[in-house]
């Protein structure tokens, strides 16, 4: 199982508490994880990726294993720790304030 950590707004919208566990077939990529997330929680469509282009929304970030995968190729494999469920795939709202 893949673990996905959502920001508070999206946990509320999806009505989940804590990390979300998802079945994702190998290879485990950013696109595959987000596709599985949106299939399980359709209300999240458009809130992380654009509904039309599927590109990451400007103020969303993707972290895993203390690294930033926000600008990584969507079809590149994620770290083995994410694929095994040992580490969560973090969906994070970018800092926006001042």
């Amino acid at each position: 199982m893949i673990l996905v950590s959502l920001p508070p707004h999206l946990r509320t919208l999806a009505r989940v508490e804590g990390d979300v566990a998802l079945e994702v077939a190998a290879p485990v990529t950013q696109r595959a994880v987000l596709d599985a997330l949106e299939a399980a929680y359709p209300m999240l469509r458009g809130t992380i990726r654009d509904r039309v282009t599927a590109r990451r929304r400007a103020f969303m970030r993707f972290f895993a294993c203390r690294r930033d995968y926000s600008n990584a190729e969507p079809d590149a494999p994620l770290p083995a720790e994410v694929a095994s469920g040992a580490e969560p795939f973090l969906v994070v709202g970018a800092i926006a304030g001042g």
């Binding site: 920001p7 508070p8 707004h9 999206l10 919208l13 209300m43 469509r45 458009g46 809130t47 992380i48 654009d50 509904r51 039309v52 929304r57 400007a58 103020f59 969303m60 709202g93 970018a94 926006a96």
Partner: protein
């Protein structure tokens, strides 16, 4: 017993204010969708238990919520707003072509007859409709394909379609207003549109009486006389007696004819309310006095309504969707401010009380009259 529900959209969530027909004691529920910008929350005239809400944030974009129990519970519905075909460009602030891009829904207008039909006014300006309670949305592209659309330029708030009026006497007639393109009317249920801006004058345009380009802030009508329209323009309060074919200014003795919102009394078609703001640069009331102005003659002659409203040191704004009236025999008038107050009057504006004082900045106020 009759009652009133006031739906309030704010910068950080939605609130529902409820009272019985006396409207003296109010219950405040919320925040719903805490932390989200709630551009508009509006109930269906056909079924007051059905409410639609537009929520968005810069992080997560647009979400549409729907309630079927008067706002007790909510469910997210579809948020896929896709322009029909390949949209061409409109004109950007600097005059260059700019691609049409969906940003948010400013206004939701439920059908007068069918709780499952609702219109959505979007930025960048377009009109969408759902006929399945928000489960899917389709654009009415005739508006965006109007020959003038390539020249539409955004106002300071964006190229937003913020006003949708449905004609109660003619189900095929709709009005919309776009900042800063102007007002448009369709007589064929949204298939084709015509600009209805004759008589408007805007000094910021090279041609002040141009067919389009006017910054219309809001239009209102009385349901019993829908061909008579009242408009709060960027500057100027306007009136049309022929469904927008021709407008004339009725600002009269107002202390300022700048403002955002405007209301028409539900039972007295010649009674109109405006909320004067000092200027386009100074978005607060003239003299620091929060005054609603009422005309009982369809414009030109206005009187201030001040009892219960702050008459010193008040520097809040009242935004374009932040006022509403209920339809009780003596109707209630409500408005919200950027300072977070929602004021209510149970006697059509004669006296006021703050229903709630410390909400986030208020974007929208919609009153529902409950049987």
């Amino acid at each position: 017993m009759s009652g009133v529900r006031v739906l309030v959209g704010t910068k950080k969530g939605a609130f529902i204010l409820s009272a019985d027909g006396a409207r003296r004691s109010w219950k405040v529920d919320g925040p719903f969708f805490g932390g989200w910008e709630m551009y508009h929350v509006k109930g269906s005239p056909a079924d007051p238990q059905r409410i639609y809400a537009s929520q968005s944030t810069g992080w997560h974009g647009q979400v549409i919520q729907r309630s079927s129990d008067g706002g007790k519970t909510w469910e997210p519905v579809d948020n896929r707003f896709v322009y029909d075909g390949t949209p061409g460009p409109h004109t950007w602030y600097d005059g260059t072509p700019h691609p049409w891009e969906f940003k948010r829904v400013w206004h939701l207008e439920p059908s007068l007859d069918d709780p499952d039909t609702v219109f959505a006014g979007a930025e960048d300006a377009a009109l969408f409709r759902s006929s399945d309670g928000g489960k899917s949305w389709g654009e009415l592209p005739g508006l965006r394909r109007h020959p003038t659309a390539g020249g539409w330029q955004p106002g300071a708030g964006g190229l937003c379609l913020h006003t949708i009026l449905l004609d109660p006497a003619d189900r095929r007639r709709l009005y919309v207003a776009i900042s800063a393109a102007g007002a448009f009317r369709s007589d064929d249920a949204g298939v084709t549109w015509k600009p209805i801006n004759r008589g408007l004058k805007s000094s910021f345009l090279p041609e002040p009486e141009a067919e389009v380009g006017h910054c219309v802030h809001r239009i209102a009508l009385n349901r019993a006389r829908p061909g008579v329209l009242f408009m709060q323009k960027h500057w100027d309060v306007m009136r049309s007696d022929d469904a927008g074919e021709q407008w004339r200014e009725v600002s009269g003795n107002l202390p300022s004819d700048f403002g955002f919102t405007i209301e028409v009394h539900p039972h007295e078609p010649e009674t109109v309310y405006v909320f004067p703001i000092k200027s386009d640069q100074e978005h607060y009331p003239p003299e620091g006095k929060l005054r609603v102005y009422r005309s009982r003659s369809g414009g030109d002659e206005w009187e201030p309504l001040t009892k219960g409203l702050p008459q010193r040191d008040c520097f809040v704004n009242v935004l374009r969707d932040a006022s509403s009236m209920d339809a009780l025999d003596v109707p209630g008038l409500y408005f919200g401010t950027t300072g977070g107050q929602v004021y209510g009057s149970a006697d059509a504006g004669e006296t006021w009380t703050a229903i709630v004082r410390d909400l986030p900045s208020v974007y929208s106020v919609e009153a529902q009259t409950l049987a």
